[in-house]
C-alpha cells in the first residue's frame, strides 16, 4: 500500500486525477499523521473535517468527470496568518486568540477553488516577527531535524516555522508561507525543503494579517521545485481587493519548467561572502555554482555594494510599517480586551496591547514608533527608504549582467531552540542573505543543497528579475536534479 504521506503535491494531484487512489484516502492519511505529531507543535488548530470535505468534493467531481483543479485532492497546511472563514486566525498572538474571521483570504480561497483542502492552521512567529519560531504565544515549533548525536530541540526557522516543520516531517505535502524578510526561505533552508517568495504583488495580501505591507508576500513551501511551481500558480493572481496586486496573468510555471540553463548567466554576488559564514555554507555555495555550470549556465561575478546596509534598513522599515499596521489591535473591534477596573479608553488600549503582544512584537512596535516620530523620521525612516532604493538599484545593475543570482539562503544551519535568546540582534542576522531581495521585491527561492557535517540541511538561494519566477524555478530545478537531496529527518515524534 502506498504511504500517502511520502507523496508531494504533483504525485497526489496526478494520482487522484488518474484514479490510483482517492482524495479521501490521502486526506485521512495526512490527518492521522498530523494528529500523531503533536510534539512538533506545528499546528495551532487542526481542521481534519475541512480536509475531508475538500477531498470528498474532489472525489465527487472525479466521479462526474469534471476537472479537479490545479491542487485537486491535495491537503495542505495553512499558515495562521491567513484569514480563514470560521476558523480561528491568530497570527500566533494572544491579542487575536479566539478571532474567527467572517471572510476568507484571497490566497486561501484560491487554493480551495483549486481543489486543495486544509489540514489546519500552522504555528508561526508572533505576527511573523522572528526567525526561529520562538515568539509564538502558542509555544515554540520543533524542527523534525536533530543535530547528529544530540537530542536538543532545533529551530525550524521563522517565521513560517510551523509550515517548514510540517512539510519536512511529512505531515503535510505542502504549506503556505509568507515572507517579509526571509520568512519562507530561511525556514525552508533550515528544514531541507523548497520555498519561493514570488515578485511583490503576485499573491494578494487581502486577508493576510499585515506585518510590513510593502514587503509581505505569500508563497508556497513544499518538498520539490515542481510542487512549488504548481502551488504558486494556484495561489497567485490579480485581486482587485489589494491595491498593490499585480494586474498580470499568472504564467503556467509548471508546464514551462526547464532545467537546461544553456545561454543563461548566473551571478555570484561577492558581497555575500561575509565574515562569520559557516564553512559548510561556503562549500554548498561552491557546489551550487558547479551544478548550475553543469546545467549549461555561465557563472559570472556581480556586485551588490549596498548588501551590508540592507539588514539595518530593513529593521527600520519593517518595524515602522508594523507599528502602523498593529495600531488596529486596540481591544475594540476584535480580539482581546483588557479593561482594568475604572479604566478609560486610553488605559484600555494600553492594557490590552500590553497583555496581548509578546516581547518581540512590543520591541518592534516601539522601534517603529520611535523611527517615525517627529524629529527622527528623516534620520531613520527616510534614510532607510533611500537605502532601499540603492539596494534595488544594485540588483537592477547586476541583472544587466546576469539572469539569476545564486547565494546561500542563510549564514548558518538551524540552531537549538533557546540558543540565541539573549540578544535580538544575533537573531536578526539570520536573515542577512534573505532581506536584500525582499527590499527589492524580487522573486527568490530556497532549495535544499546538502546536509552539513552535523546532519542538518543547508539551502541555496536563487534570486530573479522582477516577474521572472520562471528563471528562479528553472535554476532551482537544475540544482534539485543535481543535488539529489533525499534526506529526511528520523521520526522521533
Amino acid at each position: 500500500m502506498t504511504d500517502f504521506t511520502q507523496l508531494g503535491v504533483k504525485d497526489i494531484r496526478d494520482g487522484v486525477a488518474g484514479g490510483d487512489f482517492t482524495a479521501r484516502e490521502v486526506a485521512e492519511s495526512f490527518n492521522a499523521a498530523v494528529a500523531a505529531a503533536a510534539e512538533l507543535n506545528a499546528f495551532i488548530v487542526t481542521t481534519p473535517d475541512h480536509a475531508l470535505a475538500a477531498a470528498d468534493a474532489v472525489d465527487a467531481k472525479r466521479a462526474k468527470g469534471e476537472s479537479l483543479g490545479k491542487m485537486g485532492g491535495v491537503p495542505i497546511g495553512m499558515k495562521d496568518l491567513f484569514a480563514t472563514k470560521g476558523v480561528q486566525t491568530t497570527a500566533a498572538s494572544h491579542i487575536l486568540e479566539g478571532f474567527k474571521p467572517e471572510y476568507e483570504s484571497t490566497v486561501s480561497q484560491n487554493l480551495w477553488d483549486a481543489g486543495a483542502g486544509m489540514l489546519g492552521k500552522l504555528n508561526l512567529d508572533q505576527f511573523a516577527m522572528g526567525s526561529s519560531n520562538e515568539t509564538s504565544y502558542f509555544g515554540n515549533v520543533n524542527s523534525p531535524w536533530k543535530k547528529e548525536g544530540t537530542n536538543s530541540a532545533m529551530s525550524p526557522g521563522g517565521s513560517s516555522g510551523g509550515s517548514s516543520s510540517a512539510v519536512a516531517a511529512r505531515i503535510a505535502p505542502a504549506a503556505t508561507g509568507t515572507d517579509t524578510g526571509g520568512s519562507i526561505r530561511q525556514p525552508a533552508a533550515f528544514t531541507g525543503i523548497c520555498g519561493i517568495k514570488p515578485t511583490y504583488g503576485r499573491c494578494s495580501r487581502w486577508g493576510v494579517v499585515a506585518f510590513a505591507s510593502s514587503l509581505d508576500q505569500a508563497g508556497p513551501m513544499a518538498r520539490s521545485v515542481e510542487d512549488c511551481a504548481i502551488m504558486l500558480e494556484a495561489m497567485a493572481g490579480f485581486d482587485p481587493k489589494d491595491a498593490t496586486s499585480l494586474q498580470m496573468d499568472v504564467p503556467n510555471w509548471e508546464a514551462a519548467l526547464n532545467a537546461d540553463l544553456k545561454g543563461k548567466k548566473v551571478g555570484i554576488p561577492k558581497e555575500y561572502r561575509m565574515d562569520g559564514t559557516d564553512q559548510a555554507i561556503l562549500d554548498s555555495w561552491e557546489q551550487g555554482k558547479a551544478m548550475l555550470r553543469d546545467a549549461g549556465a555561465e557563472i559570472v561575478d556581480v556586485s551588490l555594494p549596498h548588501t551590508k546596509y540592507a539588514l539595518p534598513a530593513y529593521y527600520i522599515i519593517a518595524p515602522a510599517e508594523a507599528s502602523s499596521n498593529l495600531a488596529r489591535y486596540d481591544g475594540v473591534r476584535y480580539g482581546l480586551r483588557d479593561l482594568p477596573d475604572g479604566a478609560g479608553l486610553q488605559d484600555m488600549y494600553a492594557a490590552t496591547r500590553a497583555a496581548g503582544f509578546g516581547d518581540e512584537v512590543k520591541r518592534r512596535v516601539l522601534i517603529g514608533t520611535y523611527v517615525l516620530s517627529a524629529g527622527f523620521y528623516d534620520a531613520y525612516y527616510t534614510q532607510a527608504q533611500k537605502i532601499r532604493t540603492l539596494v534595488a538599484q544594485d540588483f537592477e545593475k547586476a541583472f544587466a549582467e546576469c539572469d539569476v543570482i545564486l547565494a546561500p539562503t542563510t549564514p548558518t544551519a538551524s540552531f537549538p531552540l533557546g540558543s540565541l535568546d539573549a540578544d535580538p540582534l544575533t537573531m536578526y542576522l539570520n536573515d542577512v542573505f534573505a532581506v536584500p531581495a525582499s527590499l527589492a521585491g524580487l522573486p527568490a527561492m530556497s532549495v535544499p543543497a546538502m546536509l552539513n557535517p552535523d546532519g542538518l540541511p543547508l539551502g541555496l538561494q536563487l534570486v530573479g528579475k522582477p516577474f521572472d519566477e520562471q528563471g528562479v524555478l528553472d535554476a532551482g530545478l537544475a540544482i534539485q536534479q543535481r543535488a539529489g537531496f533525499e534526506a529526511q529527518p528520523e521520526k522521533w515524534w
Binding site: 494600553a350 496591547r353 532601499r388
Partner: protein, 100 residues
Amino acid sequence: MSVTREEVAKIASLARIKMGDAELDKMVPELNNILDWVEQLGEVDTSGVEPMTAVIPNSLRLRDDVVDAIPETSGGRRDDVLANAPVAEHGFFGVPKVIE
C-alpha cells in the same frame, strides 16, 4: 543616538503599550543595541537618492464607479463587522465611557 529610560517610557505611551518598571529596564538596552546597529546607515551618501515609494512599479487603479462592486469590501455587513467585537451593543462597538 541612544534613548533614555524616560524616552522609552514616552515611546511606549505613544504606542499605547503599558509598561512596568522591570519591562522598561529590560527594553532600554535592547532598543539602544538595535539603534546603535542601525546607526551605520548614516555612513551611506544618499544625496540625490529618492526614497523608495513603490517596490515594483505599479499604478493605482480606478475601479468602476459602482456601488458595492466587490461584495466582500462593500457595505451592508454590520453583523459580520461586529461578530468578533469584545463588546457590541445595539449594532455598535461598545467601549468604556469616553465623555465625563
